[in-house]
């Protein structure tokens, strides 16, 4: 098993004149719980789309578990599970039908697909609505189903775009425990989230992207050292604001809203 799960070299994506991702060099070790952070519009989703095959890079290279993504996309996709932005569900199937569909698409045999679907639906507390279509699920239920679909084939890298958004506290706790157990078994988890507390609690390593460029990467301790924080109590939020807010452009000018205060 390669020591590095995800490598990107000079990964760039342009949309016309706009460079959404600009020469990103990422290295994520196998078995890491990796948080990918950045302000709105920084290039997080574009990066994750390129890493999962939803978007073609303008230039640069992606390697997943030693497999060159551009040269062997199908082999690379077999190793990964994805909860994409918007979840990518077929809304007119039931939860069971959707998991059966995804399992078969990833090449699982029928018996394994059915067995795993049943277990996943019960774990995600979705088994009591066997006839309900996904379109009629709540947002949180859809999120749980999307996560179940992402793990049904036992991926070695899991890409999660805002996985806890809209999920209730009880389910979120169970999901976090599941993800933590997966990393113990060597699965690499690549997660984006706006909730910095979640990232701080779950992730051992973090990268921060800002205006398309990678501005920080490393363990929390390394990031603390990077900003010159002396205390280990410096939170990820403080680190994030210190790095991203350096140019001052994002600092809201509260004096302008004096009528509200």
């Amino acid at each position: 098993m390669p020591e590095t799960a995800i490598i990107t070299e000079n990964l760039t994506r342009r949309f016309g004149d706009l460079t959404a991702v600009d020469g990103v060099d990422l290295r994520v070790a196998a078995g890491q719980f990796f948080g990918f952070l950045g302000p709105n519009g920084a290039g997080k989703s574009t990066t994750i789309k390129m890493l999962t095959g939803l978007l073609v890079p303008t230039s640069g290279r992606i390697e997943l578990l030693g497999i060159d993504f551009a040269a062997n996309p199908i082999d690379a996709k077999r190793q990964i599970g994805v909860v994409p932005e918007g979840m990518g569900l077929f809304e007119r199937l039931t939860g069971t039908e959707y998991l059966h569909f995804v399992g078969r698409m990833y090449g699982l045999d029928r018996a394994t697909t059915e067995h795993r679907s049943e277990e996943l639906l019960e774990f995600m507390q979705l088994a009591d609505r066997p006839k309900t279509m996904i379109a009629d699920y709540s947002h949180g239920m859809q999120k749980k189903l999307a996560l179940a679909a992402a793990v049904i084939h036992g991926p070695r890298i899991l890409f999660l775009d805002e996985p806890f958004e809209g999920v209730d506290a009880l389910a979120a706790g169970a999901l976090k425990a599941l993800l933590a157990r997966m990393t113990e078994r060597g699965v690499t988890i690549f997660l984006t989230s706006h909730v910095l507390e979640i990232v701080e609690r779950l992730c051992s390593h973090v990268a921060i992207i800002h205006k398309g460029r990678l501005v920080a990467q490393g363990s929390l301790e390394e990031l603390r050292a990077g900003i010159g924080a002396e205390s280990s109590k410096t939170t990820l939020e403080q680190i994030f604001l210190s790095i991203v807010g350096q140019d001052g452009a994002e600092q809201p000018q509260l004096e302008e809203l004096s009528w509200l205060m």
Binding site: I74, F101, Y106, D128
Partner: protein, 551 residues
């Protein structure tokens, strides 16, 4: 205390809502697709305007003729026409999608009276209302030109009738909102609509055959209709012409009572909404007690062993989507009904062309060509209902050709079943053509269907358009895809006609069959050869495809 210094006036609130709608329309036009939609709307609007103006002339002439020919009571028929259209048209078109936009206004400090007026004005913007108002104006003008004395009463009746229709349509709309809040009831409703539309096609032939029998029944029902609003409006006009003021007063009072009752009920409905009651609220689906279900097939036995697993999974998913999509599923009822309809109109005992019916030799290939045209058109936008699920095809470890194979397989199965059924209906109704013509048609259909699949797959990637599941309202295919489908069908029909004529010119009945078999074989070979190229093309176009369908 919020910084609200004065209450917003009723007129200002209405003006703000109007401005909001205008801005939504204007901002929407920044997108190319919306501009194309507007263009489509202008073109269809032009046709609709021609239709409305043509009928304006009919209503004008109708009202004028009834009064000049001393038959003022017949004006009620015109009121009935408007009434049925005004209440029926939105019932079938607007009803398929609940309109939540109007309710979203409730979060603003809007007065109940403003909400009521805005609600009514939404009704006035419907096509049915605009058309009906035009026809009412035409009727008033027609009646006035025949007898100027009735003009004041005619204007009064028309205004009262307009108000009654407007409130009644809004009231039915608000009741329907609750009924149609559930997807299942929307789909059942839609099935009824499709059946009604198909049944309408049979009215002409049925009247031809049973018109004489039906007339006395209609005459017997007529008196029971007199207390209803359109008849009351007609009676009021007739009484005004005859100078019976009591009759005018009585009929208008009746019409006024209807208007007041509908207004009162609508006011109550809006008041409930204003207080925060959700009119579209339905009971939540019941959860089934958690039972560990035993899988039906734990042995690992594959149902469709001949197919690769990914193709089988996509085929299964496509079958589920077809059976759950009311619009697509119920349109499958159309082909056999169309065969019956056309066989009534063009063959047998009701000849309409040249004094004799069309022979089976011509009817069979023409009917099959038409049905192929109808059934193939959805294939030109085959990702229409995928929504965000389209991402799964690109994140899963599969080649895109498997997606096409799964989708095309369903189309072929559906076409085979439908056309097989239609051949049986044609054989029963008209009879089958000679063996050379029969087999030539089958080979031609194979060529046309398989050949079109290649182009339809390309079109699905090049011109995707997201369509709402199980809905008809606002559903329009991509203009380019529709144009391409039409062009290809014309080309194939022209080619096929030429090949059939070659058989006649060479006096070799089996020549068309031989040519079509060769073409069908070439089309099948071309289809499989195209899959590789289409996979590469899908990879190239995936960003546009995902962006369009996930929007």
């Amino acid at each position: 205390m919020a910084d609200v210094e004065h209450k917003t006036a009723l007129t200002e609130q209405i003006y703000l809502v109007m401005r909001l709608r205008w801005r939504i329309l204007r901002n929407g036009l920044r997108q190319k697709s919306k501009r194309l939609d507007l263009l489509g709307l202008i073109i269809s609007g032009t046709f609709a305007t021609i239709l409305v103006l043509g009928l304006c002339f009919a209503f004008y002439e109708g009202a004028r003729a009834f009064l000049l020919n001393d038959r003022p009571g017949w004006v009620a028929l015109l009121f009935w026409g408007i009434f049925v259209f005004w209440q029926g048209f939105p019932f079938f078109t607007a009803g398929f999608a609940a309109n939540f936009e109007f309710r979203s206004l409730l979060r603003f400090p809007l007065k109940l009276s403003a909400l009521y007026i805005i609600g009514l004005s939404y009704g006035l913007a419907d096509f049915s209302a605009i058309a009906s108002i035009c026809w009412l104006i035409a009727m008033v003008a027609g009646a006035a030109s025949a007898n100027p004395v009735v003009l004041p009463s005619m204007i009064f009746v028309a205004l009262l009738f307009l108000w009654m229709n407007l409130t009644m349509e809004r009231l039915i709309g608000s009741w329907l909102e609750r009924l149609l809040a559930r997807r299942r009831s929307r789909e059942i409703f839609f099935a009824v609509f499709i059946l009604c539309m198909v049944s309408l096609q049979f009215i002409g032939p049925a009247l031809q055959r049973y018109g004489v029998v039906l007339r006395p029944i209609v005459q017997r029902i007529q008196p029971y209709l007199s207390p209803l609003p359109p008849s009351l409006a007609g009676h009021a006009v007739a009484a005004a012409v005859q100078g019976h003021l009591n009759g005018v007063f009585l009929s208008m009072t009746g019409l006024g009572v209807y208007t007041l009752v509908f207004n009162g009920l609508l006011w109550l409905r809006f008041s409930a909404q204003y207080r925060g009651e959700e009119m579209n609220e339905t009971a939540a689906p019941k959860a089934t007690p958690l039972l560990r279900r035993k899988s039906a097939n734990r042995s690992g036995h594959e149902t469709w062993q001949l197919l690769p697993p990914a193709v089988a999974a996509i085929l299964r998913k496509e079958i589920s989507y077809l059976t759950r999509n009311g619009f697509s599923f119920f349109t499958l009822l159309m082909p056999p009904l169309l065969v019956i309809l056309f066989s009534i109109q063009f063959t047998g005992t009701h000849p309409t062309i040249g004094g004799r019916g069309i022979s089976a030799e011509t009817f069979f290939p023409a009917m099959m060509a038409y049905l192929t045209l109808v059934l193939m058109s959805p294939a030109y936008n085959s990702f229409a209902f995928e929504g965000r699920g389209i991402q799964t095809y690109f994140t899963a470890p599969l080649r895109f050709q498997d997606v096409f194979l799964g989708k095309n397989l369903l189309i072929i199965v559906v076409l085979t079943l439908e056309l097989g059924l239609c051949i049986i209906v044609v054989a029963y109704r008209v009879g089958l053509p000679s063996p050379p013509r029969f087999f030539a048609t089958l080979a031609a259909m194979t060529f046309a269907i398989v050949g079109q699949l290649v182009i339809a797959n390309w079109s699905s990637i090049s011109f995707p358009r997201k369509l709402a599941f199980g809905q008809m309202r606002g559903q329009r295919q991509s203009g380019m895809a529709a144009l391409l489908a039409f062009g290809i069908q014309i080309l194939l029909a022209g080619m096929s006609t030429l090949i059939f004529l070659m058989g006649r010119w060479t006096r070799n009945d089996w020549l068309p069959t031989e040519i079509f078999v060769v073409l069908a074989a070439a089309a099948i070979g071309g289809y499989f050869a195209s899959l590789e190229a289409l996979t590469a093309f899908a990879e190239k176009k995936k960003e546009i495809l995902i962006e369009t369908l996930c929007r």
